[in-house]
C-alpha cells in the first residue's frame, strides 16, 4: 500500500473547533476533515475520495489575535438600525472577535487514498498546486516542504518505537484499545494520557426536507498526545522511513 507523505509548515494558523463561534478556538493539530478538504481542493475533486489520514506535528505556542467578524443571514435586507454595512440591498453586521492561533506549526501528514491509482495524481497536485495551498482558514497558507510517495506496510516491531522531534499526534482510540500504542502516562496514573477529541472526518449530506440540508459527519475518536510508544512485538503500520502511521 502506498501513501503520500507531506511535510508542511505554517506560520500562524487556526484549526477551528466547530463549537466555538465567538472566540474561534483551535485544535492543536488540524482535524482529518481539514486535511481531506485541502487535498480535495488542490486536486479539484468534487466528490469525496475515500482516504485514510495520519496527522502528527508540533507547534511552538499559541496566541490570540483579533479579527473582523462579519455576520449576516442569507438574503436579509439592509436595516439601518441593525446593520453596519450595506451590500446592495442586503445588510451585514460587522464587529470584532478573537481567534486563537498556533504559531510555527510543523506537520507530517500521510495520505492513503483507497483508490491507489490516485497516488500519482495527488502527489502531482501537491507538487504543482493550482492555487495556493491553505490548511485551516482560507488565509492560513501552508508551505509544503516535502512530498514523497512512501510504501506503507505492517511490521512486527523488534523494539519499542516512539515519535521524534517533540511531535504530537492524533492516535485513533482503537489503536490504544488494541494495545498497539501505549501512552506514557505520568507515573503510574493511567489517566494522564492526553486529550481526547472527537474529530470530524468526512460527511454525507442529508436532506431533512424543507430546504434543510445538513452535513452528517463521520466522527473519529482520537487521543492527542506527545508521549507515544509503539510497543515491541506488535504489528504496526510504518512507512518506508520507519515513521509510525496513525491512519484512520
Amino acid at each position: 500500500m502506498k501513501a503520500i507523505r507531506i511535510k508542511l509548515y505554517q506560520n500562524m494558523v487556526n484549526y477551528k473547533i466547530p463549537s466555538s463561534f465567538q472566540l474561534k478556538e483551535t485544535y492543536p493539530l488540524p482535524p482529518y476533515s481539514t486535511v481531506i478538504g485541502m487535498v480535495h481542493n488542490l486536486c479539484g475533486y468534487k466528490e469525496y475520495q475515500e482516504m485514510k489520514i495520519s496527522i502528527q506535528g508540533k507547534y511552538h505556542s499559541k496566541v490570540n489575535d483579533l479579527y473582523t467578524r462579519y455576520e449576516f443571514k442569507n438574503g436579509m435586507e439592509f436595516d439601518k438600525g441593525r446593520h453596519q454595512l450595506q451590500a446592495d440591498k442586503f445588510g451585514i453586521c460587522r464587529g470584532i472577535s478573537t481567534v486563537e492561533l498556533l504559531t510555527d506549526v510543523e506537520l507530517l501528514i500521510h495520505i492513503i487514498p483507497e483508490n491507489q491509482d490516485l497516488i500519482e495524481e495527488i502527489k502531482n497536485s501537491l507538487d504543482f498546486p493550482k492555487i495556493f495551498p491553505a490548511l485551516g482558514r482560507w488565509e492560513d497558507l501552508a508551505v509544503i516542504g516535502e512530498v514523497k510517495i512512501v510504501e506503507i506496510f505492517e511490521e512486527e516491531l523488534e523494539e519499542d518505537l516512539s515519535l521524534g522531534d517533540n511531535y504530537s499526534v492524533y492516535i485513533p482510540l482503537k489503536m490504544i484499545k488494541d494495545g498497539k500504542i501505549m501512552l506514557l502516562g505520568n507515573g503510574n496514573k493511567t489517566s494522564n494520557q492526553g486529550t481526547r477529541y472527537k474529530l470530524n472526518k468526512n460527511y454525507k449530506k442529508k436532506d431533512y426536507g424543507r430546504n434543510r440540508v445538513i452535513r452528517k459527519w463521520n466522527k473519529v475518536e482520537v487521543v492527542y498526545s506527545s508521549r507515544v510508544l509503539a510497543v515491541e512485538n506488535e504489528k504496526i503500520l510504518l512507512d518506508s522511513d520507519k515513521k509510525i502511521v496513525f491512519a484512520v
Partner: protein
C-alpha cells in the same frame, strides 16, 4: 448507553466548565459520581430534585456574598448589644443600627427580586408590613440617650422578627436563591428559564426543573431510534434542532438572524437536553467573585480539571473573606499547588479563561510563563497591597502586573507609567520605589523567560538604582532638588522613545553639574535595548524622591 446512567465526556472549555459545575453540584450533595479518564458517569436518579441541589450549591458556596447574608448576619451585633443589656450601646452603635436599617433592610426588602420571592414563601408573617414598621431612630437635640433606648429596643425586636423570618429554611431557599440567581448564575447564562424576564413560572425551582431537568429525564427515557438529528457536541440522537446555544453568555449566536456562522446558512448547531443541562451548570464550574470569573481549562483529564478549579474556588472564597478580591492571586496559589503536587506533570499550554465585564477573555499559559510566575513569587507578593488611582478608579498593581505578564507584555511601559505618576501626581500613587524595583526584577525574569535577554543580571538594577539615589543626594547637597523632577521627565522621555542619545545627554549634563564621573553602569546600558530600559528605569526610580512626605506620596 445504559438507561440508568449518564456518561459525559469532556469537550471544549465552556462545556468542561459545565461538567465541572455538574460534578461540583452533585458532589456537594453527596451523590455518587464516577470519574474515569475523560468522562464522568452518574446515576440518572441523581437528577431527582436536581433543582434543589443546583440552588443549594450556589447558596452554600456563595452564601457570604449574598444580601440575604448581610441581613441575617446583623444578629450577631444585636446579640452583642443585648448581652449586657445595652450598657455599651453608644452613638456609634446607633449609627451602625441606622445604617443597617437604611442601607440594608430598607434597601433590600423592597427590591423587586425579594418582593417576587415573598409570594413563594409559605409563611404567615407579613414581611411587607414589617418593613414599613421599621425606621431609623435619631437622637433629638434635647434628648438623652436613655430616652430613646426603649425605642431602640422595640425596633430591635422588630428587626429580630424580620431576621427570624429570613432564617427560615424556606425563606433562605427563595431569598438567597434569588440572590445567587442574579449575582452568580446570571454570569454564565441568561435569557431563558428563570432568567427570562417574561417567564410564566414564578418559582425558579420549578422553572429550572421544567426547563432543564425534566427534559433531560424525559430524553433519557424515550427510544431514540427514530430521531433524525444528532447533538452538535456529544453526537447523541435528537428529535429536533430547537436547543441552540444562544442562552449562554458570549458564546452562541442568533441562529435565526446570523446564519452565516454555519455551513450553507443551515443551522445545525443544536444540542441535546443532556448537554443543555450541563451548560446550565457552567456557573458552578467557573469561579466567580462578583462579576469576575476564572476557569482553568486543564483538560488532560477530568480529575485534574476538577481539582485545580476547586482549588481556585476555595482560594477565591478564602481570599475574599479577608476583603481582598484578587482573583489572580487565588489562581496563582492554586496553580502552584497543582505544580507542586505533580512535579512530573507537564502543566503547560493550559487555557485560562477569565470572565470580566460580560466578556470571556483567554490567556494561554505556557510552561515558560508558569516558571516566570513561580520564580517571581516573592516579588509578586510584595505588590499585593499596592495600587494607584486613575480617573476615579483604583487599580491594583499586582493584578495589573499579572494581567500584563500573562498577555505576554513586558512591564516597561507600565513601570514608565508608574514612575510618571509618582512624579506628577504622588497623591494617587500608593506604592514605593522599592515596589517598582520588584517589578523590574519580575520583568527581567519575564524577558529571560520569553527568550529576549540572556545576560541581564539582577544586580544591574540594584547598582543603577543606587546611582540614581547618589545623584539625588548630590543634588540635595547643592540645594537643587527642584531640578530633579525636570531631569526625571527628560530621562523618562528618552527611555520611552528608546532614544539613548537623549538619555545620555541628560545624564552627562547631570554629572557635569555635580562634577563627578559618569558611573560605569551606563556603558552597560548602551549594549542593548533591554539593558537600556532596565538600567534607565532603575536609575530613574532611584532618582525620584522617596522621603518626600509633604506631597502625600508614598504610603
Amino acid at each position: 448507553m445504559e438507561d440508568n446512567k449518564i456518561k459525559i465526556e469532556l469537550s471544549d472549555w465552556l462545556y468542561n466548565a459545565g461538567v465541572v459545575g455538574l460534578y461540583n453540584i452533585l458532589e456537594h450533595n453527596g451523590d455518587k459520581v464516577q470519574i474515569k479518564d475523560n468522562f464522568l458517569e452518574f446515576e440518572i436518579n441523581s437528577l431527582e430534585n436536581f433543582e434543589e441541589k443546583y440552588f443549594k450549591y450556589f447558596i452554600e458556596k456563595y452564601e457570604k456574598f449574598t444580601s440575604w447574608y448581610k441581613i441575617i448576619s446583623f444578629q450577631n451585633k444585636i446579640e452583642y448589644w443585648e448581652e449586657d443589656g445595652f450598657q455599651n450601646f453608644n452613638e456609634k452603635s446607633l449609627e451602625e443600627l441606622n445604617s443597617y436599617i437604611r442601607d440594608v433592610l430598607k434597601k433590600y426588602l423592597k427590591s423587586n427580586s425579594y418582593i417576587a420571592a415573598y409570594d413563594l414563601i409559605n409563611n404567615d408573617f407579613d414581611i411587607k408590613l414589617a418593613e414599613k414598621e421599621i425606621s431609623t431612630i435619631n437622637l433629638k437635640k434635647n434628648q438623652e440617650f436613655q430616652d430613646i433606648l426603649n425605642n431602640i429596643k422595640l425596633m430591635i425586636e422588630k428587626i429580630i422578627k424580620i431576621i427570624n423570618y429570613f432564617k427560615e429554611d424556606e425563606s433562605k431557599k427563595y431569598l438567597a436563591g434569588k440572590n445567587v440567581m442574579y449575582n452568580i448564575i446570571k454570569n454564565g447564562w441568561n435569557g431563558v428559564c428563570f432568567l427570562n424576564a417574561r417567564t410564566k413560572e414564578k418559582d425558579m425551582y420549578i422553572d429550572y426543573k421544567k426547563y432543564f431537568v425534566d427534559s433531560t429525564i424525559e430524553y433519557n427515557k424515550v427510544k431514540k431510534d427514530k430521531f433524525k438529528y444528532n447533538c452538535f457536541l456529544c453526537d447523541r440522537e435528537m428529535k429536533d434542532l430547537n436547543n441552540d446555544l444562544s442562552f449562554l453568555n458570549a458564546t452562541g449566536f442568533d441562529t435565526k438572524r446570523k446564519s452565516s456562522h454555519v455551513w450553507n446558512f443551515t443551522n445545525d448547531v443544536a444540542v441535546c437536553p443532556i448537554c443543555k443541562l450541563i451548560y446550565s451548570c457552567v456557573p458552578a464550574g467557573i469561579n466567580y467573585v462578583y462579576s469576575k470569573g476564572i476557569f482553568i481549562n486543564d483538560n488532560s483529564n477530568i480529575d485534574s480539571l476538577i481539582n485545580i478549579n476547586q482549588k481556585v474556588r476555595d482560594e477565591i472564597l478564602k481570599e475574599h473573606e479577608t476583603n481582598n478580591s484578587l482573583t489572580y492571586r487565588a489562581m496563582i496559589i492554586a496553580l502552584e499547588e497543582e505544580i507542586n503536587d505533580k512535579v512530573k506533570y507537564e502543566l503547560s499550554d493550559i487555557q485560562l479563561v477569565r470572565y470580566d465585564e460580560e466578556k470571556y477573555r483567554f490567556n494561554i499559559l505556557s510552561k515558560k510563563l508558569l516558571e516566570v510566575l513561580r520564580s517571581s513569587r516573592d516579588d509578586l507578593n510584595k505588590l499585593i497591597k499596592t495600587g494607584f488611582n486613575e480617573i476615579n478608579t483604583y487599580f491594583n498593581i499586582y493584578e495589573e502586573v499579572l494581567k500584563k505578564i500573562m498577555n505576554g507584555e513586558n512591564l516597561f511601559l507600565f513601570i514608565h507609567k508608574l514612575l510618571s505618576l509618582k512624579l506628577s501626581k504622588p497623591v494617587d500613587a500608593h506604592y514605593k520605589m522599592s515596589h517598582l524595583k520588584s517589578m523590574m526584577y519580575i520583568n527581567i525574569k519575564f524577558l529571560k523567560g520569553v527568550g529576549f535577554v540572556e545576560n541581564i543580571e539582577k544586580d544591574i538594577i540594584d547598582s543603577a538604582n543606587k546611582q540614581g539615589y547618589f545623584l539625588r543626594t548630590e543634588y540635595e547637597n547643592r540645594n537643587s532638588e527642584n531640578k530633579i523632577g525636570g531631569i526625571c521627565y527628560r530621562l523618562l522621555n528618552g527611555l520611552k522613545t528608546n532614544n539613548k542619545d537623549m538619555f545620555m545627554d541628560v545624564i552627562m549634563n547631570c554629572y557635569l553639574y555635580i562634577g563627578k564621573t559618569v558611573p560605569k553602569i551606563f556603558i552597560e546600558a548602551l549594549k542593548s535595548d533591554e539593558n537600556f530600559k532596565t538600567i534607565g528605569y532603575a536609575f530613574v526610580s532611584g532618582l525620584i524622591n522617596e522621603k518626600d512626605k509633604n506631597n502625600g506620596g508614598s504610603k
